[in-house]
């Protein structure tokens, strides 16, 4: 004779605390994902991806794979619901976020009419560095697209619509702004000529390779066992930056854009680099603190993003 104690799940709105639904006869081994499915049937416009269910109205959202009976609840579980807003699948998100700048820049490179004065429509710049910059910029975003499709594994399946709109405005807008100057008929090539361009190109390429190496390393980490490990240097010399920083992918990304700034000697690019550096430093410090909290044997030499400094 099997006795399955069924659970009851009461879902309240996290803000108003009103009861949104009461589910009875829920299997104890049901997952949060299953519960979200049931909730979706009652409220069809709240598809599971936009539901956040929590045990505490202000706490963290429960993961979809968590099992009901393993949660710290009695047989009547009270959960709080928050609407995350419209969501978009991550593939769409990154395709849009990265294709935008890639294509926008090309519009300026080919001097599509109405951007510059009419006499310059569809002309080419006499400076080789302009073509080089276009190649680098295009390569950078192609690499990101390839990584998005083939390399990265994302923990959240979706992203809220508002975030995407803001991100797109930022990426597209900045890329248009810096492309405008680099491809302008009155563009001035770098003061130190080929020496400056080649040096900057070397930095750019090294950092792109470095960034890619780190992404591969992080990917192999997520393939591993359930036990979480923090990333460590491997045989690849590019990963040796892990001796010094927690987030070398961000370090290399900043390096890429520093290289691009020096290559083009263009203030808008430098500004974009600076803003990117500020944002990535914030992310890196957050990640660094999280690593420190989660792993007791975390190397103390490591900083967040800049070796020995930040």
């Amino acid at each position: 004779m099997s006795r399955t104690t069924f659970f009851e799940v009461e879902i309240l709105d996290a803000k108003t605390k009103q009861q949104l639904c009461f589910l009875d006869k829920v299997e104890p081994h049901a997952t949060i994902g299953d519960i979200k499915g049931l909730f979706h049937r009652l409220y069809p416009h709240w598809y599971p991806a936009r539901q956040a269910l929590k045990l505490d109205p202000r706490g963290k959202s429960l993961r979809d794979d968590e099992v009901l009976q393993s949660l710290p609840v009695g047989t009547t579980a009270i959960m709080y619901f928050r609407d995350l807003g419209p969501q978009l699948g991550w593939t769409m998100v990154f395709l849009v976020e990265y294709l935008g700048p890639l294509l926008t820049y090309l519009l300026f490179y080919f001097r599509v009419p109405y951007i510059y004065s009419h006499s310059h429509a569809f002309t080419a710049s006499p400076h080789p560095v302009v073509t080089l910059a276009c190649a680098c910029h295009t390569f950078h975003y192609l690499k990101r697209l390839v990584e998005t499709i083939f390399v990265h594994r994302f923990s959240h399946g979706t992203m809220p619509l508002r975030t995407i709109v803001w991100n797109c405005a930022y990426y597209w807008g900045f890329s248009a702004w810096l492309a405008y100057y680099i491809n302008h008929p009155l563009y001035t090539p770098p003061s130190y000529g080929d020496l400056q361009i080649n040096y900057a190109l070397a930095v750019f390429v090294m950092c792109e390779l470095g960034n890619f190496s780190i992404h591969l390393t992080l990917n192999s980490l997520k393939n591993g066992s359930r036990n979480r490990k923090f990333p460590v240097p491997t045989k690849n010399p590019f990963t040796w930056l892990y001796f010094f920083v927690s987030c070398p992918n961000y370090t290399y990304e900043v390096g890429t854009w520093v290289g691009f700034s020096i290559m083009t000697q263009c203030v808008p690019v430098a500004l974009y680099t600076l803003l990117g550096f500020v944002q990535m430093s914030i992310w890196a410090r957050g990640k660094h603190k999280a690593y420190g909290r989660e792993f007791k044997d975390y190397p103390s030499l490591r900083m967040a993003i800049i070796p020995l400094i930040l």
């Binding site: 100057y181 009155l186 563009y187 001035t188 083009t264 000697q265 263009c266 203030v267 808008p268």
Partner: protein, 245 residues
């Protein structure tokens, strides 16, 4: 100094205050803020008096800016300290919001009125200076009394009522001033950088000013309605409390 003691004793009641995530300014911070707000109130009163005296002396509204130019610059620029207050945490306001408000005033004072001499004799300058003066006198005295836990209802009422007229008045004055500055900015290329140059950068201050003017369209209604909502919240409770808190 009983207000200061009240400040510290509030912080001492740990659990319920901790749930608000902020302990409130300590005794020293409260004293500093009181002094700051008193000084600012006095400063803007000086500007008000300066305006009145100049008007009475000249008999016309024209060119009153020159009589209060220095205190206006000093006290309006001094308001930058308020951003610091939020950043440090002794004032529970958003750094971004305060920063935005203060910098927009500073922008108008220095980057428009000071920089484009030709607009200084415009009547629109008097319009926004008057609006700012009345607003700031009320606002800083409001803060002063609040910090001392002795806020006369009249000040609270004034703060949340005068804005109905002062906001549109100030905005009109500001917009007209920027508009008046446009031809001079375009003619002289003020604060503008053109191509070609070594750093491949350009900035057209004229276009920038036009964009600033357009930005008033989404921003002003938001701020205005925010104040209206605040008014309902703050003055709506008047039936529950006595006139002097």
């Amino acid at each position: 100094m009983s207000a200061a003691a009240a400040g510290t004793s509030k912080a001492a009641h740990g659990p319920d205050v901790a749930s608000k995530k902020r302990k409130g300014p300590g005794a020293l911070a409260t004293a500093y803020l009181v002094i700051y707000n008193v000084v600012m109130t006095a400063g803007w009163l000086v500007i008000a008096v300066g305006l009145a005296r100049a008007y009475l002396a000249r008999g016309s509204y024209h060119g009153l800016y020159y009589s209060i130019e220095k205190p206006l610059k000093f006290f309006q620029t001094g308001a930058i300290l308020e951003i610091l207050h939020c950043a440090v945490g002794i004032v529970p306001s958003s750094v971004v919001l305060t920063g935005f408000q203060v910098m927009s005033r500073v922008f108008l004072t220095w980057a428009v009125t000071h920089s484009v001499r030709e607009v200084q004799s415009e009547d629109s300058v008097l319009l926004f200076v008057t609006a700012w003066t009345v607003t700031e006198i009320i606002r800083y005295s409001f803060y002063t009394f609040s910090l001392l836990n002795h806020l006369p209802y009249l000040i609270k009422w004034a703060r949340y009522t005068f804005f109905f007229v002062l906001y549109p008045m100030g905005v009109t004055g500001e917009l007209l001033t920027i508009y008046a500055a446009l031809p001079f900015v375009q003619k002289t290329g003020l604060y503008s950088v053109t191509l070609p140059n070594k750093y491949n950068f350009s900035f057209d201050y004229y276009t920038f000013l036009i964009l600033v003017m357009f930005s008033y369209i989404p921003l002003f209604p938001q701020l205005y309605f925010h104040m209206i909502r605040q008014r309902k919240k703050v003055l709506g409770q008047v039936e529950d409390y006595s006139k002097v808190e």
